[in-house]
Subunit: 355 residues, 2 copies
């Protein structure tokens, strides 16, 4: 089992090191190889996704990814900016199914902006389509406006697109995930305005017929953004497109108050996957040894479960994380009075010990 | 001064009746004419925006709008559905500047999902571009996919577009609004992925140079969705496109916990405007006399201010609303122990009395 380890920028290397530590302690005989990506890829090879890094990722069973991005790359041309590495990997590997859990750990309920009773026990799984929609749709670019309010003016444009089979496959992923949970799926669309999401709604409804044990409801994206704030526990599995999923999955993560705890997985149809924390590269705290490695460690657990067929090892990691939380160990981002503040490496060590 | 009164569906007629009551009590010599819109337009004339209603709206100085929509119209073809009336009015009148305040009234702080210290005193103004973006961009439709992941498959698509002058005019609106407030603007984009929003970001930055007294920052839409939950008071004026504005303005409204209090205004370059509550038509409580008319009454105040040049009258209404809140009067949606529950009409009467 071969794993491409892509630490990236900012706190990426620190948090990935702890996840690697945990994986090694499990003695699963994983073959891990590291390569630069994002700003680090640009520094090393002039491109955020150097060909050698892409090749390593393509040949691996799974990718353990840290985070990319730093202010110092903000002035580069768009194709050279760190985030292009993520988009490039998603596209090259066809990673269409993004799993974004938003879980509120009972020890961390107080960290949420929301009143405790609204988030205690929260456990939402957002399933975001990741290779279609307006993220990749052609044509796109700049031009002279051919019509519209200001014909002749400078214009920029993008194309939102979904085909029936793209919607079908992500709908199947969502319904199958729901079958293992509380058997409820909320499909989020904007069918009242967008042709793309009218098709989305139609196709999800059709696929639903193959899952009579799962209850489906439809919600407009603006309403979903509201209901997440008002009553987040009404949601279980949420499935939506790439753009809406980007916004709603981040909103949902933040509801928990502890985005430093939330992993993610992005899978293709061969169960190859990219695993990364839901949070970003946090360049402001990079190198200080204070970042929370738990989201990355939990991403490694998802990797064992989804791509490497190692359910037992995945559960071991998850139980170990629960244990260190119960022991009161906290990195700075989730620290509160009465708990013990630890560094990135101390947290990784504690998880290893708790395995 | 001529006002088109379009009550619409659900609770629309009830809440608009109270706003009309308040306007009449001010004795401003307003000429008000009522016409059906939304589902009511469909019932009366076979179209959500009957030609006579549109004509009335076009000839008026301002439109006082209730709300549209009811489940019973969900099965109609899209062009006949109630919400097409709103889209049609925005387009026909060129109502490009949507003002969506998210204010947390001190008496209602407890109603928010968020912890009181995070929302007490919250006062955000979201300025949403309302006639461009993917809402109206052509081409759009269904077709056989010409390329992409599944060439040949059934596909639906929409076009996101913005021209430079469209972005310029909404940016001016935002900077000028900020000059009257705390002189801060956050422009929300997705320039890291979308060509349209790279142009957006560039143009907003250029326009900012004409407002050296206003501080501008840029934020990605996914991050904005998070920061609204994490630290809403960091925002003052937020400016964004039609699609992102739809999502973020609803998210922000819900943060206050009292969406029944929030007005909105949609203006064109002649200061003609459509004024409506931020909430919907709530068909489940229609006809019961329990809906909160205050968002509509406050929309009438915005109408006096923005379209009718009656600042003093606008302030009178706003002060009266503050007064009834201070008196402890509450409709069911904002009721809490120790306050006095009143009906829709009683609330309208109380505002009139407090004028
Ligand atoms: C960095 C960016 C391109 C990316 C996205 O928008 O998909 C990020 O926000 C994410 O959600 O992984
Ligand atoms: C009804 C719908 C078309 C509309 C929109 O998306 O603009 C509504 O959500 C709004 O925000 O006014």
């Amino acid at each position: 089992m071969k794993i491409a380890v892509l630490p990236g920028d900012g706190i990426g290397p620190e948090i990935v090191a702890e996840a690697v530590k945990v994986l090694e302690a499990l003695n699963l005989g994983l073959e891990m190889e590291t390569a630069p990506v994002g700003g680090a890829g640009y520094e090393a090879a002039g491109h955020p996704l150097p060909p050698a890094t892409l090749k390593l990722a393509q040949e691996a069973d799974a990718i353990l990814f840290g985070a990319v991005g730093d202010w110092k790359y903000d002035t580069l041309d768009r194709p050279l900016r760190p985030e292009q590495a993520i988009l490039g990997l998603r596209k090259a590997l066809g990673l269409f199914a993004n799993f974004r859990p938003a879980i509120c750990y009972k020890e961390l309920t107080h960290a949420s902006s929301l009143k405790p009773e609204l988030v205690a026990g929260l456990d939402i799984l957002i399933i975001r389509e990741l290779t279609g929609d307006i993220y990749f749709g052609q044509p796109r670019g700049r031009r002279v406006a051919p019509d519209g309010h200001f014909p002749g003016a400078e214009e920029a444009f993008d194309t939102m697109r979904y085909t029936r089979p793209e919607i079908e496959r992500i709908a199947h992923v969502a319904f199958q995930a729901a079958q293992k949970r509380s058997k409820r799926v909320t499909s989020v669309d904007k069918a009242n305005v967008l042709e793309t999401f009218q098709l989305w709604k139609d196709v999800v409804s059709e696929v639903a017929k193959q899952y009579p044990d799962v209850a489906l409801d439809h919600m407009y994206v603006d309403n979903a953004a509201m209901q997440l704030v008002k009553e987040p526990k009404r949601f279980d599995v949420v499935v939506t497109g790439n753009m809406f999923g980007d916004i709603l999955s981040d909103e949902a993560s933040m509801l928990t108050g502890s985005i430093g705890m939330l992993p993610s997985a992005s899978l293709n149809d061969k169960k190859q996957g990219l695993y990364e924390p839901s949070h970003g590269s946090a360049p402001d705290i990079a190198g200080k040894g204070i970042a929370n490695p738990l989201a990355t460690i939990l991403s490694a657990a998802m990797m064992l479960r989804f791509s490497l067929n190692q359910e037992a090892a995945a559960q071991k990691i998850e139980a170990a994380v629960q244990k260190v939380l119960a022991q009161g160990l906290r990195t700075a981002d989730i620290y509160s009075e009465g708990t013990t503040k630890v560094s990135t490496a101390q947290m990784g060590d504690a998880v290893v010990k708790a395995l």
